[in-house]
Symmetry: C2
Subunit: 193 residues, 2 copies
């Protein structure tokens, strides 16, 4: 009985995972509004009725997709526990190159529409990214007249805007060179890696 | 006769201007694909048949809209001829706040779609912004191992990403504080104002 219950739970978590992955891919391809429960379930190979069971409504599914992406980008930005000498920028640049990261751009366009139902959810993504950046910015090393929050906006903004330019024209944007420029620009000690 | 010809030319240029403004607003609201010639002409109060005459096809109109926005952002970034002590960042931040600047986000989402017809046009916008930024970056002040082009990607990227965050949550992003952080971050002499 315990074994059966465990299997059922694992299967439910796997269904959830398949649905989140399918939704992320479809949202990245055609946006939130244009994607239906039916398409998501079909791509995931999961029964259509299970989406409300897992996520409530489509906004609940969007929240799960955004949380999932946020976990991935924060994990990418975290220095590896195994390799403290690793450059977090390497991981962030690798994250930028993932096909599904295009999702950030597709959803952004919908989030800034007047009366957008997804704005609040998207705003939470930016807030979480800024919070993570701010936690890395040394209060002691701040130039006079500046704040950790403002540097967090700049840092997160730079990654958003580098991603946008690379996504539009990957051959015109050398992510390695950008990484070197960013390293040179950030004063020693300002960002705690 | 000269007077009449002049009036006709002015009227044609005014029609063109009204159409570009209407197209920019509609593209910003609902994207390029979802906007029809008919809606653009109706909003501009111009005869529908005049759009092909002015712009060829919808891509021609998009090109005119992008060129127009590009002129506006480059003018904003240029130091004022009358006030050399003015801060170009003030102008760029003012540009970011304009309602129509949302266009950059709406079109970006369409530009990064697979097989997008507008990608090339949008890519030219980024290229022109990077060219303008690069022209301001001092080759002599470059940190070792970095390039003007990479700093141009970073600089343009920062503005794109600050705009995105402000557009999603204007109350959470203090553009004045961001401007101060940017000023503090850019090494003296690297950007020629």
């Amino acid at each position: 009985m315990v074994g059966m219950a465990t299997r059922r739970i694992q299967s439910s978590e796997e269904s959830r995972r398949l649905l989140v992955t399918a939704a992320a891919e479809l949202f990245a391809d055609r946006g939130y509004r244009q994607t239906s429960f039916i398409e998501i379930a079909d791509r995931a190979g999961i029964s259509r009725g299970s989406i409300p069971w897992h996520f409530g409504n489509k906004l609940g599914l969007l929240k799960a997709v955004i949380d999932d992406q946020l976990d991935a980008v924060l994990a990418a930005a975290a220095p590896s526990a195994n390799d403290r000498s690793g450059d977090p920028f390497d991981q962030v640049m690798a994250f930028i190159r993932l096909p599904v990261t295009r999702l950030f751009i597709t959803l952004l366009a919908e989030a800034v529409e007047v009366g957008s139902p997804i704005r609040e959810h998207y705003a939470r993504l930016h807030t979480a990214l800024r919070d993570a950046a701010r936690a890395r910015i040394s209060a002691e090393a701040l130039p006079p007249g500046t704040t950790q929050e403002a540097f967090a906006v700049v840092l997160v903004g730079t990654l958003i805007g580098v991603h946008a330019q690379w996504r539009v024209a990957p051959d015109a944007v050398d992510l390695r060179a950008v990484q070197a420029a960013l390293r040179a620009l950030l004063p020693a000690g300002l960002i705690e890696m």
